[in-house]
Each structure stands twice: as C-alpha cells, then as structure tokens.
Assembly symmetry: C2
Homo-oligomer: 643 residues x 2
C-alpha cells in the first residue's frame, strides 16, 4: 500500500462525477471570495455578519449559480442536479451563505416554482433568481415543527373581496426561526390551514408580502428577531405573526389546490392526505441539499484536521525525534474511519442527486407526474441520507475539533464555526429522529402508505395485514453489488472480513433481519394498543432505518469503486471502502454477535482489521483529503503555520 502513488487528481475526478463543472465553478467563486477576505467572518458581530452575507448573496447571484434549478424560459438553467450540487459545494465556505442561499433560492424560490403556477413564475422568478426579491419560507411554528399537518396559522377565503385573510391565532402559531425574516425578506411563502366556505382544506402555501421595497414591515405583520443563535449568525432568522393580513386570491400557490372566486375549492388530488404529502414531497430538494452541504463541511473539517495531524508532533519517539500525531493509532482512529465514511456518504449523495435529477427533471409538471412509488423511495432515501449525513457531520467535526486540541477551539482555525453552524442540520429540514421514522414506515409499507394516514395506528395495522418481508429495491448500485456477490464464493476464514461480497451480504442480511423482526413486533398491535406497540419498538424502528441507509450507502460506495478507471486510485479506494465497512461493523458488532451473524473470532478480526487499515491508509491520508479539492484558502488556517 505505501508503494501506491495515487494522485489526488484521479480521486477528485471520480468524486466530482457528473456535475464536475458546477463543482469547479463554485470552488473558483469561493476561492475568489476568500482571496479578498470575504469569508473571514469569525470576528464579526451579528449585524456585521448578516450584512456580509447579504453582500455575498449578491455576489453569488451574479455567478448565475442560483439560476441552475429554475426553468430556462425565465432565464434559469433547467438543471436540478446541478442546482443541488451547487448548494452542496457552498458548504465549503461560510455556512451562513449556504443556508441563506438555500432559503432564497431553494425554499422560497423552489416553493414558488414547484407549488405555484405560471402566473407566479412570470411575476416572481426573474427577481428571485437575481436576488432582487428576497424572500422567506414560513412553515415551522412555535408549537409545531415536525408535525406540519397540524400547523395553526389560517388563511381564510373571503369571497366578498376575493381575498385570503392570513392570521396567527395565538403565539404558539407564530412562524418561527424563519430565515431571511428578521432583516431582508420582502415576500414570504406562508403555510397555513386553508379555510373556504367554512371548511378547512388542510395546509396550503400562500404568498404574503412582509416588507415594502424600502424594507419597512407591512401593516398587520409583526417581525421579531430570533436573536443570537449557536451558529449561522449570518442568517437573519425571525418570528412572523400575521394579524388578519389580506392577500389577493392569486396569492395562493395553486398547483395542488385552488379556490375559485366564489370560494369553491378545487384540486387535481382528491385525498387531503395525498395532496398534503405531495406538497411536502417538493421539499425533498432541501433535504438533499442539507445532506450534501453537511458533507462539504465535514470534508473541510477533515482536510484541516488531517493536515494538522500530519504536521503536529508530540512526545518523543524511539529514535529521539518527536512523533507526528497522525502516526499514533489512537489519532488515526479518531480521523480515518470518519474520513472513509465521508467518502461513502459522498457517493451515496451523488447517486441520490442523480436519482432526483433523473426522476424529477426540470419542471413542476415532471415533479407532479413522477412515478409515485419512485418518488416515495426518493423521499425516503433523502430523509435517511439527510439524517445519517448530518449526524456524521456533527460527530466528525467534533472529532476533528478535539483532534486539534486547544488550537481547534480558536475561531481563526475555523473548526468552531463548522461545528456550531452544522449543529442545527440534524434538526432543520426535518428532525433526524422523525426522518428515520419516516424511512422505517416507508420500508414497512413498501412506500404504499405514504399518501394515507401516517399515524402509528395505521402503520401498525397495515403491517399486521400486509407486510410480507423486506424488499430491497434494485437501484443501479444494487445491481453492481449483486453481480459482485453472485461471482464470489462463500468464505469462512477470518480474512473474509476484507471480502467485499461477504461485507455486502452482511449488510443486506442485517437490513432484512431487522426489518422482518420489526414487522413481527408490530403485528402484535391492535386498534387499542397500536401506539404503545409502535412506541415500545421505537429503538427498533430507528435501527431499521439506519441499517437500511447503511446498506444503501455501501451499495453506492461499492459501485463507485467499480467505476473508477484509475487502477491505483481504485486500489486505494478499495481500502477506504474496507475501512468504512469494518468500522461500521465494529460499531455495531454487538448486534451481529447477538444475532449469530459474527463469531467471536471474526468480530475480533473486524477490530484488528480497522487497526490494520488505519495503518495502511495513514500514508495516504493527505491524498485522501486533498482529493476533496477544498479551495486552499479555506483549508490553510493559522495553526497549520505554527507547526
């Protein structure tokens, strides 16, 4: 292994994949911004940080990157995959910029694009793309975050004036943590219970102006500043309340539901539940973008920590010289398994973006017409990968901080802001625990229940009646894995832990077993105890989702290694994949042993394998982080000059 002379460029080519040109453009933009200090925000107070990010939003708009996801007829790029990759790459820079851009172009612009119709597109998309019209996405309320269906803001249609009256009934219904609300937003996509003819039609989105062109808050709207946050202080989050605010009938984003002038409600989707989940489904891009940018932040943290560990020396070694800290096994174990998993998640993310792009194409019509089961699978994969990738970011950036000791605690060395900024990723765009429950429900119902009632009761009853066993969907990556497994003999020696077929079978088997076991438990549920049964299996539910995501991620990594056309890079990636797999098994070997999937001897071989791979990959650690091609100016922090 040490004799391998892998160039990071070969790895970068594979990592950059289908949207390499977009990745290059964003790298160049961030490098140019960094060159004149625009990304150096550690010393700014909240007001100055917000101002800085607002200017960067303008600079970003000028690059044209934010147009990528919008329709070509309004000046957009019509390339949803490119748009998501572009957000992902912003994760290398100040994450406040990524989040504010995500609010403006992903949530606000994307909401109008996907939930609105031509009249909204013509009127707003050009100014949204250019940044001339800053906006908000007002969904979360004080009292309801994850449970979107029970939001309590109302939009009541008044046929006398052909207007909707948007109203916040009490403080628990205030829209909270809304990005762009405290300072810059002028128009908001507001989610509210639509009421017409005295009847509620469920949650819909409307456009509500909140500030005039001078930035003055409009009558009936109250804005409170969310104040200082743990991180992302360049984003102006705020709380919005509406006191009988009137907007015209055309303000309703009416792709999935409309109200005629006389107040008659119409919708192309009959079921209230199906309509609601179809509308929510448009949020999938946001979740995918968060997973991607969490990955970028993780890569930057690892690039910094690995570079530091490869320079920093501490304690005398056997030859009298001081030892480079990355030569310690204990230090390798802090960083290298996390680095391997970062590779794995990168390829899973790339596959997910490709699936989004291929399934949804560029137009709202494509989204509305996408194959339903495939759309539900996509949402499930996005939810699962978002949860796993953002937790991985939290853990890895923490490990990177600790691996840099006191230096890692200094703001100038960037790890503190990476940590503080990404922390909320596990919460926003869906709380991770809730998202994993959605994944598990999708698996249990084979994606057939998504448009119906999602309550524990319904899930448990559905499973009791219809679950026939875990089904593994046949993605492109899965086919590669199946070919490898089929071509491989059964192994029973301890070196089998390095055998890809054995590894893949172990992950697949775990997924099926956990899911089948969960279904058996849920079958015990009846009408009276469905919640209790489902709740008592809560840890089992989360585990089913996690091991499913683990298997999907491994499939993607294996397929990526197979398509690598550089022999030395592929050899190195095979080791990285081994480390990802074995460290994942090591962490969960309690389960494998408990269920007779690993013998004691082989479990010990897994632990020994992690140690061996750490040593083998250590000489290549710099190459592996260099391959992420984080712009040099974003890695070169002061502590790297001290050593």
């Amino acid at each position: 292994m040490e004799s391998l002379t892998v160039s990071s460029a070969a790895l970068t080519r594979l990592l950059d994949g289908r949207w390499a040109a977009v990745r290059r453009d964003v790298r160049e933009h961030l490098a140019a911004q960094a060159a004149h200090g625009a990304l150096d925000t550690a010393r700014l107070d909240v007001a100055a940080h917000r101002e800085r990010i607002a200017r960067q939003i303008e600079a970003l708009a000028e690059t044209g990157g934010p147009r990528l996801g919008f329709p070509t007829e309004y000046g957009g790029g019509g390339d949803i995959g490119a748009a998501v990759v572009s957000f992902e790459m912003l994760g290398f820079g100040d994450l406040s910029l990524m989040v504010k851009a995500g609010v403006q172009w992903g949530l606000f612009g994307g909401g109008i694009h996907l939930l609105g119709t031509r009249r909204h597109h013509e009127q707003y998309l050009p100014d949204i793309m250019s940044g001339a019209l800053p906006g908000c996405f007002a969904m979360t309320e004080v009292g309801h975050g994850s449970d979107v269906q029970r939001l309590r803001t109302t939009a009541t249609y008044d046929p006398r004036t052909a207007e909707f009256v948007v109203h916040t009934p009490d403080s628990a219904a205030a829209k909270t943590y809304i990005g762009n609300a405290a300072r810059d937003g002028r128009l908001a996509v507001v989610f509210a219970q639509l009421v017409t003819g005295g009847r509620s039609r469920g949650v819909h989105a409307l456009l509500v102006p909140i500030r005039d062109e001078n930035g003055t808050v409009l009558p009936g709207v109250t804005v409170e500043d969310s104040g200082v946050k743990a991180g992302l202080n360049g984003v102006d989050n705020g709380r919005l309340t509406f006191d009988q605010v009137r907007v015209p009938r055309a303000a309703l984003l009416n792709r999935y539901g409309d109200v005629t002038e006389d107040g008659t409600y119409t919708s192309p989707i009959d079921s209230d539940n199906k309509r609601f989940f179809t509308m929510l489904g448009t949020l999938v891009r946001g979740r995918i973008s968060v997973a991607g940018s969490a990955g970028s932040a993780t890569k930057r943290a690892l690039a910094i920590a690995v570079n530091y560990a490869d320079r920093r020396k501490q304690f005398e070694g056997p030859d009298g010289d001081e030892i480079t800290v990355l030569d310690y096994l204990t230090h390798q174990r802090r960083l290298l398994p996390a680095l391997a998993t970062t590779y794995a998640l990168h390829f899973a993310q790339e596959d997910l973006v490709a699936e989004l792009h291929d399934l949804q194409g560029g137009t709202p019509e494509d989204v509305a017409n996408a194959d339903e089961i495939r759309q539900r699978e996509l949402e499930s994969r996005a939810a699962g990968l978002k949860a796993v990738a953002t937790w991985h970011a939290t853990h890895t950036i923490q490990a990177a901080r600790e691996a840099c000791g006191g230096a890692g605690y200094m703001a100038e060395n960037v790890l503190p802001s990476l940590k503080a900024d990404t922390d909320v990723f596990t919460t926003f765009e869906g709380d991770n625990t809730v998202l994993l429950q959605l994944v598990a429900k999708g698996l249990l119902t084979n994606y057939r229940l998504q448009f119906q009632d999602l309550s524990p009761l319904a899930t448990a009853r559905f499973v009791a009646e219809q679950f026939v066993g875990a089904v593994i969907e046949r993605t492109a990556a899965r086919k590669v894995v199946e070919r490898i497994v089929d071509a491989s003999p059964v192994r029973d020696d301890d070196d089998a832990v390095f055998d890809r077929a054995w590894q893949c079978k172990l992950f697949t088997d775990r997924e099926s077993h956990v899911l089948d076991g969960l279904a058996r438990r849920l079958r015990a549920a009846g009408r009276d105890n469905a919640f209790e049964v489902f709740n008592a299996a809560g840890d089992h539910v989360l585990r089913a989702a996690r091991v499913h995501v683990d298997r999907l991620v491994l499939d993607s990594f294996v397929a990526a290694v197979e398509r690598c056309d550089d022999d030395e890079a592929r050899a190195l990636l095979n080791k990285v994949c081994d480390l990802h797999v074995l460290s994942t098994i090591e962490a969960d070997r309690g389960w494998f042993l408990e269920h007779g999937r690993l013998t004691s001897g082989r479990a010990k071989a897994v632990v020994a394998g992690v140690n061996r791979l750490c040593g083998e990959l250590r000489p290549h650690a710099r190459t592996l982080v260099d391959a992420f091609a984080v712009p040099e100016a974003l890695v070169q922090v002061p502590m790297l000059d001290w050593t």
Copy 2:
C-alpha cells in the same frame, strides 16, 4: 414505580453530601447574580463579555468562596474539598466565570500556594484571594501542550545579578491560550526549563510580572490576544512571549527546587523525573474541578431538556391529544440513560473530592508528604474521571440540544453556550486521550513507575518484567460492593441483568480481563519495537482505562445508593443505577459477547432492560433533574414558556 412519591429534596440531600453548605452558598450567589441579569451574556460581544466576567470575579471574591482552599493563616478557609466543590458549583452559571475563577484561584493562586514557599505566600496570597492581584498560569506553549516535559521557554540564572532571565527562544515556545493574559493578568506563574551553571534542571515555575498596576504590559513581555474562541469568550486568553525578561532569584517557586545565590541548584527530590511529576501532581485539583464543573453544566443541560420534553407535545396520540415528547421511547433514550450516568458520575466525583481532601489536607507540606502510591492513585482517578466526565458532558449536552430541536439552537435557551463553553473541557487540563493513557500506565505499573520514565519503552519493559495481574484497589466504595457481591447467589436467569451483584461482577471482570490482555500484548515488546507494540495496542490502552473508570464510577454509585437513608429515594436510585449500568453494558455489549461474558439471550435482555427502565423512570424524570437543585433562574429559559 409510578406509585413512588419521591421528593427531590431527599435526593438533593444525598447528592449534596459532605459539602452541602458550600453547594448552598454558591447556589444562592448564582441565583442572586441571575436575578439582576448578570448571567445573561448571550448578547454580549467579546469585550463586553470579558468586562462582565471581570466584574463577576469581583463579586465572587466578596463571597469568600475563593478563599476556601487557601491557608487559614493568610485568611483562607483551609478546606480543599470545599474549594473544589465551590468551583464545581460555579459550573451551573456562565462557564467563563468558572474558568476565569479557576485560573485566578485554582491555577495561579494554587500554583503559588503549592509550588511556592512562605515568602511567596506572605507576599501574594492575600491579594490573590481578594482578587486584587489577577494572575496567569503560563504552562502550555504553541509547540508543546500535553508534553509538558519538553516545554522550551528558558529561565537562566545569572549569578552576577542574582536574577533569572526568562526567555522565549522562538514562536513555538510562546505561551499560548493563557487565561487572564489578554486583558487582566498582572503576574504569571511561568513554567520554563531552569538553567543554572550551564546545566538544565528541567521544568520549574517562576513568577514573572507581565503588567504594572495600571494594566500596561511590561517591557520585554509581548501579549497577543487569542481572539474569538468557540466558547468561554468571557475569559481573556492570550499568548505570552518573553524577551530576556529579568526576575529576582526569589521569583522561583522553590518548594521542590531552588537556586542559591551563587547558582547552585538544590532540591529535596533527587530524581529530575520524580521532581517533575511531583510538581505536575499539584495540578490534580484543576482536573478534579474541571470534571466537577463539567458535571454541573451537564446537570443544567439535562434540567432544561427534561423540562422541555415534559412540556413539549408533537403528533397526535391514540386518544386524539398530542403526545408529550418525553413519552416517546426514542426521546427517553436520548435523555434518561445520560441522566442516569450523570448521577453515577456525581457520586464518583464526590468520592474523588473526599479522597483529595483526606489525602492532601490543607497545606503544601501535607501534599508533599502524602503517601506516594495513594497520591499516584488519586492522580490517576482524577485523570480518568476528568476524561470520562468531560466526554459525557460533550455527548449529553449535544443530545440535550438536539432533543430541544430548533429551540435548542437559540442562544437565549442557554444550551448553545453550555455546548460551546464545555467543548474545550475534553482538551484543557490534559487532553482526554493522553489522560486515559496515563491511567492505563498507572494500572499496568501499579503506580510504581510514575516517578520514572513514562515513555512507551519503559512502560512496555516494566510490564514485560513485573506485571503480575490486575489489582483492584480497595476504596471505601469497593468494600461496599464486595459485601454486596459476597452476599449474593450466582444467577443465571435473564433477570440477573437487574441484579446488582451480577452487574458489579461483570464490570470488575471486564476490567481485569482487559488489563491482563493488554499486559500480555505489551510483553511482546522488546527494546527495538516497544513504541510499535505500544502504539499498535493504542485502542486497547484506552479501553483498559475506560473500563477501569467505569468500574470505579459504578462502585461509587452503588455505595451512594446504599447510604441513602430515605427508602423511596433509595428505591428510585436503584432504578437509576440499573439504567446507568445496563446502558453502559448495552453500548459495549460487542465486547461482552465477543468474550463470552454475555449470552445472546442476556444481551437482548440488557437492551430490553434499558427500554423498560426508561419507561419506569419517565414519571420521575422531573424529580431526578429537580434534585440537582440548579437555581430556578438558570433553568427557566424562554422556550419553557412557549409550550
């Protein structure tokens, strides 16, 4: 269990223990400060935060609390246990205050007290106690943190003028991250290589003035501000360099080494190594204080998160009402095992403080004369508990933040500052990974090697020649455990997982087995490969230390439950202890299964046991956090009013 009506007061009595009066005093002081908003620092910029904390240091000095650890003859309290508990309790408030107080009275004042002699005490202690003389503890350098023995600042004796010349040879030898240095400190305890007669005598501490009474930096001293940090921004950390700064001969803190006027070096300790480690041993109080205040911050975070989870509702339940989030098993699993372990660590901390107090008494002479093996054991326990308690704080406060969703990300809800401030606890006062290696070395050498060479080579050779097997020291808590184990029959049913004797035996057996196995591996080391062998066993070394600490912590918890004289409180604590034990076993059940210590069936019983205990303790969660008696004003954050 639900029928238990435990009062939190009974639990508080047990938790408050031997230094209950000190705990009460600090609670009252913090509550009074909070009442007029002094602790509300989230909106302050760095300069204002530093100013606020400087004022709070003055207010704290007026309480007399900081005097507790100093000699009565100078106006101190002569009660080291009380002093450490007092620092621990400051962890309920703004942690910048705790850290700045720790620098002033623990490190700076404590250093002069323990390393200096009467002349230093008379001259400085009164002004240090009153806060009139703010000071620094300048040990860490840019190039050397953990490896204190290789610090490179020099203090060269010049017999012509009877002065020491303190000098920073290059930027890697600059003193860095020094608390109180950037703004307030006037005098510094500086660690430097003492050189006299052309010969180096190893690291010693000297007093070097850095500012005059007006706060002007003195000639030859350069101070750079460390700038913004991830947290603790109320503490003015800075970098100090010295350019041939002359101090009188009497500036040497000369308890363990002195230089006569003609430059002759004298010391009561012949061995350079023994002298060095004796001096370092005086730092043990700092480590114990950090472990304790990490515990206080953890308690406050749990009190906030449990109160929120017991109010916050989300998603409809079977009866149509919304479900309180703490009723979800998944939410219980985020908070309640961590709460149980927080109890465990509290009692271990209490035992550690008592051992410090009983062993070291109040005077520097007592410290110097303490039984050597017992002193080494104390240092080892302090190192181990500091590592485990600070990592527990990092994980638990993170879990608390996530459990409060977006609200947990808002500065006004305090969790962000608890997270950011405690983050560096895993690094300062000894990097946790290095500390655990020290613990393992102590175990392997039965504390006999501490004064000698601590290199891997020496450790490995010592083990190869002399290790005869793991020895479990007989603390007071251990005797309680042994009595329980001896009185209990052997169990082999799955309910044995709730049997205290079975639990204790499992922990003790794991400790012995891991340590014996490590010794076997190290015996393979010879002169040529000692580093490689030790390094290859790096993960095994850390594990040996961790399972040792786990066993110590359990001993303390078991003994505390036994001495609880309130029947209902004891019954509840028994459940808490069960949850601590079973969640610890659950997390490590891979090892137990791999080594034949758990059958598959019993491993599953452990997982089921954690779930069952979460449910049983859920109705008592508020009582358990109320018992920490965190002042109400420090728990009552805005988000608790929203729900």
